[in-house]
């Protein structure tokens, strides 16, 4: 036993202690939110692996959570597969994602959506791939996870929060819930110690820009409307 080096984690890059975060296996892209980056192995979203975002419902802030990462990988196309609603291209332009790189795929069948995702990952020409799936079987997830490993694509799968109980081959699983002026994130699975307490992240930009109560910090680029009148309906 005396032959063991002092730091066991130096023996092999895939080795880490239960109390520390793993090394990143491949390149990562910064999340843009320092609180979150500090909690992820490699300090960002890992590329070329399956990452699951478990959201309570669409529209809790998942796009704003991904905004800095999407902007960072937007040199290459960004594909949205089977989004739950119509993605608003003006919002993406507002969030700083170049519109000429966006592609939306609508598939009538789950099999088509998964097939498309696999083809995209195999080609590896896209910077980011976001797939919305409500019911995904473990074997199809594993297959996509394997396909992702050959690419340098930021591959996210957005699933309902209820599927947190199911097992998944994803290396990183985050649960997302809305909160005060942003979201709270549960780290469900990561290469590192379990984290019981939630991460609270303030998302930018906030949708509430022109509050009649002036509670929320105004975004700098928001157009200020002179003499805004509070809605008469608000009690």
């Amino acid at each position: 036993m005396s032959a063991l080096p002092k730091n066991v984690e130096d023996i092999h890059p895939a080795l880490w202690r239960g109390s520390q975060l793993a090394h990143a296996r491949g390149p990562t892209v910064d999340t843009g939110y320092a609180v979150l980056s500090a909690e992820l192995p490699g300090g960002g979203w890992p590329l070329g692996t399956l990452v699951e975002l478990l959201v309570q419902q669409p529209g809790v802030g998942e796009i704003r959570l991904l905004r800095p990462a999407l902007a960072a990988v937007s040199k290459r196309p960004i594909v949205l597969v089977q989004p739950p609603h119509i993605p608003n291209s003006l919002a993406f332009a507002y969030l700083g994602v170049p519109l000429d790189k966006l592609i939306q795929l609508r598939a009538s069948k789950t099999a088509d959506a998964l097939w498309s995702a696999e083809q995209i990952l195999k080609t590896g020409s896209c910077g980011a791939l976001i797939v919305w799936q409500n019911h995904a079987r473990t074997e199809s997830l594993r297959r996509l996870h394997l396909a992702a490993q050959a690419s340098q694509t930021l591959f996210l799968m957005v699933r309902p929060l209820a599927s947190a109980a199911d097992s998944s081959p994803a290396t990183l699983r985050l649960g997302v819930r809305p909160a005060g002026d942003g979201i709270v994130v549960d780290v469900i699975k990561r290469k590192g110690p379990t984290r019981a307490e939630q991460l609270s992240i303030t998302l930018q930009p906030s949708p509430i820009l022109l509050s009649p109560y002036a509670r929320v910090r105004r975004h700098t680029s928001a157009p200020a409307i002179a003499g805004s009148i509070p809605s008469p309906l608000v009690a």
Binding site: I63, I86, A91, W115, T123, P207, L209, P223
Partner: protein, 462 residues
């Protein structure tokens, strides 16, 4: 040669049928044997099919006597990774056409021809020679009947005690020339590399249109893939020989003709990125055929190249991009369009309109329409509902899961009076009890129902 057995399969040989038997003899041996007339025209068609498919490797392909295709691959060896790989690829293509072939390589065309003709008994390794000395060694022990020029003098050579080509080569040249003519010696000289060879290379037709009859009436589009592959192979050979790339092609599925004629189904294949690769064309065809619904059984296929352009050589940059080239991406989009349909592979093309549902326009990636500039400082929700959802009212407040609290000042959008789709709405950002934000609007009350405001949910802040 008429009414004689030309070739027999194993079952027939076991029944005692030999090559050269007459029809009556065969029927005596086994009355229920199936006999087919030899169709030279169709044989020739298959030979041309094979030759065109093999043009992928070299444009110098020639049809020779006795069902042989001679190809000069001298200049292509390095490109395809050596003779062994080249032979393997050729064998795959020939196999895909659906014929069996005996393959031989030699430094001279005539030598390779002789090896291929007579190699039934020889070992496979003896059929592949690369050097002149080993060719001489391989040709020597062949029976002399392999060379067609010798066959006229078979009896005479047998009387001399000759059995192999070597035996004939040992005879004095002058005497041979006097007795058998110049052709025999010329043929030998060409085989052994002593005289130059001249071939009539197959001329490449200016357009491509190939037809294939299916072995049976086929009712599943997927089942046609095998036959379609034969056509695609020929097409790729034709493209490679002329260094062209395909941009448009049409696959025509021919149905019943005659009294119950059905119009042929035409599948148009438009390629965003010109290609001459078989694998990509096959993947596209597979997706297209998988989505095609057949109106009737298919009897024949025809593949026509409708539009081609000169192929561009691949640019080999020193440091390739990690995600593949733009061509790879275009090929991916093509594949997605083929499977999902053009209406389901979309790119944003926002239009300058105040109404959110009009401003947020998505068009097919195949559409070449230009998009208009977008104001970059317009805060908008990331998701728009397909159809605005009317909200319930509780205590005079809109209710969606919990009662909603308006968190912003109103944004009035009033447009559409010019195209009949008049909308007049006040948009607000509302927050539910669980802190999630919604984009809701109040339909601006007309004079009639001013007391009863109707609220709708239109967007979600992703």
């Amino acid at each position: 040669m008429r009414d004689k057995v030309f070739i027999a399969d194993r079952g027939a040989r076991e029944a005692g049928v030999c090559v050269g038997m007459k029809r009556g003899g065969v029927l005596t041996l086994s009355p229920d044997i199936a006999m087919h007339e030899r169709d030279l025209a169709r044989e020739n068609d298959v030979m041309r099919e094979v030759a065109f498919s093999l043009m992928k490797f070299s444009p110098m392909a020639a049809l020779c006597d006795e069902e042989t295709v001679v190809i000069d691959v001298t200049a292509s060896l390095r490109l395809f990774g050596g003779i062994v790989r080249l032979c393997r690829q050729m064998r795959e293509i020939v196999g895909a056409i659906g014929v069996t072939a005996r393959m031989s390589t030699a430094p001279t065309g005539q030598g390779a021809w002789l090896l291929a003709q007579s190699a039934g008994r020889a070992q496979r390794s003896k059929r592949r020679v690369l050097k002149m000395t080993s060719l001489e060694r391989a040709l020597g022990p062949l029976p002399f009947s392999a060379a067609p020029e010798v066959r006229a003098f078979t009896d005479w050579f047998e009387g001399l005690g000759c059995k192999t080509l070597d035996d004939i080569r040992r005879l004095p040249r002058a005497g041979l020339k006097k007795r058998c003519g110049v052709e025999l010696l010329d043929s030998f000289d060409r085989a052994y590399g002593l005289a130059p060879e001249l071939y009539e290379w197959l001329a490449v037709p200016p357009g491509f249109s190939a037809r294939i009859e299916l072995p049976d009436r086929i009712e599943h589009a997927d089942a046609m893939l095998f036959s379609a592959r034969r056509l695609v192979m020929q097409l790729c050979g034709w493209l490679s020989a002329q260094q062209l790339a395909l941009t448009h092609a049409a696959l025509i599925l021919e149905h019943e003709r005659g009294r119950d004629a059905v119009d042929p189904t035409i599948i148009q294949i438009a390629l965003g990125e010109p290609t001459w690769h078989e694998a990509h064309l096959m993947r596209l065809l597979k997706e297209r055929l998988g989505r095609t619904e057949l109106v009737a059984a298919v009897l024949a296929l025809r593949l026509t190249a409708t539009k081609v352009q000169p192929a561009e050589p691949p640019t080999e940059s020193l440091f390739p991009e990690p995600g593949g080239t733009a061509e790879d991406h275009n090929r991916l989009l093509e594949l997605l369009v083929a499977r999902l349909g053009a209406a389901n592979v979309l790119r944003p093309a926002p239009s300058s309109d105040h109404r959110p549902e009009h401003a947020n326009r998505w068009i097919s990636v195949t559409d070449t329409q230009k998009s208009e500039a977008v104001p970059a400082d317009l805060p908008r929700p990331a998701w728009l509902l397909e159809k605005p959802l009317q909200l319930m009212m509780k205590n005079h407040r809109p209710f969606y899961g919990s009662s909603l609290k308006l968190m912003s000042t109103g944004e009035r959008i009033e447009a559409g009076w010019f195209d009949g789709g008049l909308t007049s709405r006040d948009y607000f950002v509302a927050q539910a009890n669980d802190q999630s934000c919604y984009w809701i609007y109040r339909e601006r009350p007309g004079s009639a129902d001013a007391d009863d405001p109707r609220w709708f949910l239109h967007g979600l802040f992703g």
